[in-house]
């Protein structure tokens, strides 16, 4: 992801909002990459969790265009391994909520097929809707 970011483009308001929502001091991230290295979903992501941390730290609202936070399933693998004890899962959640709170869902709940509806356990449906609908 070779992309130039001008540091004076920092959207401070966005950065502060994510810090507040997540409760995590994102700027403490050392960019060691442990979160990305251990993430079981990283190969599905367009940018890695550590890149998410970096972009948030720099107040880059463009991070909202990434699919990474929607692929993150809050498995907390990054959370338990971060040497700075930052909870990356919470940062993902803050990014998801930033969109969901504008009343835009990430999925369409009517899209579950009849065939899948017969199979899916309640636990999957409730969990999915909690993470993908606002």
């Amino acid at each position: 992801m070779a992309k130039k970011i001008k540091l004076n483009d920092k959207n401070t308001e966005f950065y502060e909002k994510i810090v507040e929502l997540s409760g995590e001091q994102v700027a403490l991230c050392d960019q060691c990459g442990t979160c990305s290295g251990g993430c079981p979903f990283v190969e599905e992501m367009d940018i890695t969790p550590s890149q998410i941390m970096r972009l948030v730290m720099l107040g880059q609202k463009s991070v909202m265009d990434s699919k990474t936070m929607w692929i993150c399933a809050s498995c907390f693998t990054c959370t338990v391994r971060c040497p700075r004890e930052l909870d990356v899962s919470k940062v993902s959640e803050a990014l998801r909520q930033t969109k969901l709170r504008t009343a835009i869902d990430e999925i369409s709940i009517e899209d579950i097929s009849k065939e899948e509806a017969k199979k899916l356990p309640t636990i999957a449906v409730v969990g999915n809707f909690r993470k993908f609908t606002g």
């Binding site: 579950i112 899916l120 409730v126 809707f129 909690r130």
Partner: protein
């Protein structure tokens, strides 16, 4: 009425009116000169057409009730709701199964419930709405049908739900599923249906059809009701 009734000040659709004490919200609207075409029905608390939201003076709560049953208080602010737009999928009851998967397919929004209980607080029928929604989520259709039995589909629950669930349509489906698949079969009912089909009551029906209104009214009100 010999004594002059005390008048109360109420805000109806944003305007201030004086209405007699003891009026229901519906009476207040009509006293003030509104002609209600929507949001009015049986006027007896059965049909659920007249859901209304209001605030009482000095109370932070936004309350809901039936306009035909709720008596106005001084300083009340009232908004009549013509109807609640609701998601209403079309289904064929004979093709459904009485379990949670039917709701996953037809009413997936039910799984968005956060147990805030706002629906229960809004219900003018004092139904534990949240409890029947929770019963549906765990697949207990019979429980959902039982708890929701008194629902009159006024829509106040759906109006207030932060998860945008249409509770009463879920409840209706639960009761239909219960009726078709889960309720204990009644041999007496089958027998009676057979008797009707065999024409056992045709003569009586014909007599009723031919009766004058007054006579019909008399036997209706004189009828004996067996309460078991």
């Amino acid at each position: 009425m010999s004594e002059k009734r005390k008048m109360l000040k109420v805000y109806l659709a944003g305007e201030l009116f004086d209405v007699p004490e003891g009026s229901t919200i519906m009476m207040a609207f009509e006293y003030a000169g509104f002609q209600l075409k929507h949001g009015v029905g049986c006027r007896e608390g059965y049909c659920g057409a007249c859901a209304t939201i209001y605030r009482e003076k000095g109370d932070y709560k936004l309350k809901g009730g039936l306009a035909c049953q709720t008596v106005v208080t001084d300083g009340m602010t009232i908004a009549q709701i013509p109807f609640v737009p609701a998601e209403k999928p079309i289904y064929d009851l004979t093709e459904l199964t009485p379990d949670v998967s039917t709701f996953t397919e037809l009413f997936p929004a039910v799984f968005r419930c956060v147990s805030c209980n706002t629906c229960t607080k809004a219900c003018p029928q004092d139904i534990e709405v949240m409890d029947y929604i929770q019963a549906i989520i765990r697949g207990d259709i019979a429980r959902a049908a039982d708890i929701s039995f008194d629902c009159i589909r006024c829509g106040l629950c759906a109006m207030r739900c932060p998860a945008e669930i249409v509770q009463y349509n879920n409840a209706t489906l639960a009761r239909r599923l219960y009726g078709r698949y889960l309720a204990k079969k009644s041999p007496e009912l089958d027998k009676r249906v057979q008797e009707i089909e065999d024409g056992k009551f045709d003569e009586q029906i014909r007599e009723l059809n031919e009766m004058e209104k007054e006579e019909l009214s008399k036997i209706y009100f004189d009828r004996e009701i067996k309460i078991s």
